[in-house]
């Protein structure tokens, strides 16, 4: 029973990723097909359940974790370095053990997943909104506007993703005063991940906008003086939402990975508000002192999140691919 309610939960969740998709193309046209395909793919259902579980436990972390891992007053040093519960030295309620400061690993993981998921989600939304608008403008107006936007995209794509992201965080943290750095860590990361990833959306939308704008219905709409932005949003955009939805889902996984990588490298979330990547960075220091649980459990959680997102993305790509139906 619990299973059933969870699947419905995630399905709405994955659907809402790019907002307009749900109203315009998915719900209206494909909902029943998509739902059938979802039910008949065990890996998709499994991934959705997993992601729902992760999202819910992250969301309700303050109510289900044994301690607030960031409340320094709640940490007791004599509780430090406790191994997981199945080890004979393990102690309740520290199911996955504690770190060197007595912080409960499970609580830290749930709070960390929260940060990772939020940053991943926000950076996809940011990249989507910039990419879709610029792509529509470039494809619809053409000419020098198109040239400027697409050349900018070419330059961004000529540098490795991870390098752009590191440069943005590095420059931002170097030019900000110390106090602001930690406060703005999350927005900086969102920016750093969104900047190199909008180009993909822009290219997709531009290609279909260039085709659509020559069609008669757009000509007709122009003739009756429908405003350009209305043509773009209501007539052209809905035609290219399917590939965008698939790309956005896969990029959500990529964004979480990128955030974790940046935090692991030390240019992401600071240690006092750690994401999963920061937790792995911290745990990595104790690799040789036998405290394996500090690094392994956050790493497992990160892999599970990305894996489930990628499995949903893979299923979605096949399910929405007209050639495979």
């Amino acid at each position: 029973m619990a299973n059933l309610s969870m699947t419905t939960e995630t399905d709405t969740e994955t659907d809402t990723a790019p907002q307009p998709a749900r109203r315009a193309s998915l719900a209206a046209i494909r909902d029943s097909d998509l739902w059938y395909s979802f039910r008949t793919h065990p890996s998709a259902v499994f991934a959705a359940c997993l992601l729902a579980l992760v999202a819910l436990t992250a969301l309700f972390a303050p109510w289900i974790t044994p301690q607030d891992p960031y409340d320094l007053a709640a940490l007791e040093l004599w509780n430090s370095e406790i191994p997981p519960i199945w080890n004979e030295a393990g102690q309740w309620p520290y199911i996955l053990g504690t770190d060197t400061q007595g912080r409960d690993i499970l609580s830290a993981i749930l709070y960390g997943s929260r940060i990772s998921l939020i940053i991943g989600f926000a950076s996809v939304i940011a990249a989507l909104s910039v990419g879709l608008s610029l792509g529509l403008i470039a494809g619809y107006f053409g000419g020098w506007v198109d040239n400027v936007i697409m050349r900018l995209g070419d330059v961004l794509l000529s540098m490795p993703f991870i390098l752009i992201a590191i440069l943005i965080t590095a420059v931002a943290t170097a030019s900000l005063p110390t106090g602001l750095k930690d406060v703005l860590a999350a927005p900086i990361l969102i920016l750093a991940i969104a900047v190199p990833s909008w180009v993909q959306y822009a290219r997709t939308v531009r290609a279909s906008a260039m085709v659509e704008r020559k069609k008669e219905y757009v000509q007709a709409a122009r003739l009756i003086r429908v405003k350009p932005w209305r043509i773009m949003l209501h007539h052209i955009l809905p035609n290219c939402l399917t590939p965008i939805l698939v790309a956005a889902t896969l990029n959500f996984g990529l964004a979480i990975l990128s955030e974790a990588t940046l935090s692991f490298l030390g240019v992401g979330m600071p240690p006092d508000q750690p994401s999963l990547g920061t937790l792995i960075r911290i745990g990595n220091q104790y690799l040789f002192s036998g405290l394996w649980w500090i690094v392994v459990f956050p790493a497992v959680q990160l892999c599970l999140i990305v894996l489930s997102v990628n499995m949903i993305g893979d299923w979605l790509r096949d399910a929405l691919n007209p050639k495979l139906r």
């Binding site: 697409m150 330059v155 540098m159 590191i166 692991f264 490298l265």
Partner: protein, 330 residues
């Protein structure tokens, strides 16, 4: 063809100028270069003198032109942190990164191609399905997590392989190689595997997709009908026709691998360019950051251009298409 060549080269040059502009802006406007270079006792006059000597009082365009001219000659200035010539620093670290990327690429081909063929040939078999699932897992595993797990398993628990450093190296001219000593080879194993994980899945998926197409073609059916052994048809006749895209992918991914090596290098404290870059980021050592950015982008752009031009050379249709697309754009 000549027109296409010129167009592609001009495009690459434009992209490099844009990257240079970015590197220059970072270099010039984030942190004052003078403040970074002088020591604390320097007088106001010293600073003004240095500022004049570095040409920081000139106009923006003059400074940018000088930056590009110097960069073309391989002069990226002096590292703020250890007062050494940036290009010398990067040159010392380049062999380490190059060998890591090279070995990772070889591993990805040697493992990825057979896996791809197997999953395509035995489609829908339990083994192929397991490998297919494994490839999704491979894409989802962050490379630094793979590195940490490898260290935990093979260095901490089993104690078989070293977890950091490059081992002993031998100098051949200016190139220092770790491939000739046992400790150097041992040190290379874990970083190379960790860097190649993602690449293996990429090669495997590509080979699988190409093989599925090729297996349906007439010449493969004909070879089978003629009685050529199945193994030979799959692994020689069909596979050979799938290798061109694999070579392209491998070529284009080398730039990405060099950039991504910085993560692996951080995990394994591998003394390559990537580790140098990450340390430069921590210390806001901007000349090193700018030089690394330019160098990696340069490799990236050159590889892409070479691949494009080769394709146009092999396949004339692409030239026409490119010309048409260019016409529609302009």
């Amino acid at each position: 063809m000549l027109a296409f060549l010129i167009k592609r080269t001009a495009n690459a040059a434009f992209v490099m100028l844009a990257v240079a502009l970015l590197a220059f802006i970072i270099f010039r406007f984030f942190g004052d270069p003078v403040e970074m270079m002088v020591n604390e006792q320097a007088t106001q006059a010293d600073r003004a003198e240095l500022r004049e000597r570095l040409g920081l009082n000139d106009g923006f365009v003059t400074q940018y032109t000088r930056f590009v001219t110097n960069a073309v000659q391989g002069d990226f200035g002096i590292s703020y942190r250890n007062q050494q010539d940036v290009m010398v620093l990067i040159g010392e670290r380049f062999p380490a990164t190059f060998e890591l990327v090279l070995v990772a690429t070889i591993i990805s081909l040697v493992v990825g191609i057979p896996l791809g063929v197997i999953t395509a040939v035995h489609r829908n078999s339990p083994l192929a399905n397991a490998l297919q699932l494994g490839s999704i897992v491979g894409v989802s595993l962050p490379s630094f997590v793979v590195g940490i797990m490898l260290i935990l398993a093979f260095s901490v628990s089993l104690g078989w392989l070293p977890a950091f450093g490059r081992g002993e190296t031998v100098d051949i001219g200016w190139w220092s190689t770790g491939l000739l000593t046992p400790s150097g080879r041992a040190a290379l194993v874990l970083p190379a595997i960790s860097l190649s994980t993602f690449q293996i899945t990429l090669v495997m998926r590509l080979v699988r997709a190409e093989m599925l197409e090729t297996l349906r073609t007439d010449y493969v059916k004909f070879a089978r009908a003629r009685g050529v052994p199945v193994g030979r048809v799959n692994w020689v006749h069909a596979l050979r026709n799938c290798l061109m895209p694999v070579i392209t992918l491998t070529g284009m991914q080398i730039g990405n691998l060099i950039a991504f090596a910085l993560v692996t290098e951080t995990v394994f404290q591998w003394p390559g360019m990537g580790l140098l870059f990450i340390q430069a980021v921590t210390f806001v050592d901007i000349p090193v950051m700018a030089a690394y950015l330019m160098l990696v982008s340069f490799i990236f752009v050159v590889l892409n251009t070479v691949v494009d031009v080769t394709y146009a050379w092999v396949d004339p249709r692409l030239r026409d298409d490119a010309a048409k697309a260019g016409g529609a754009n302009g």
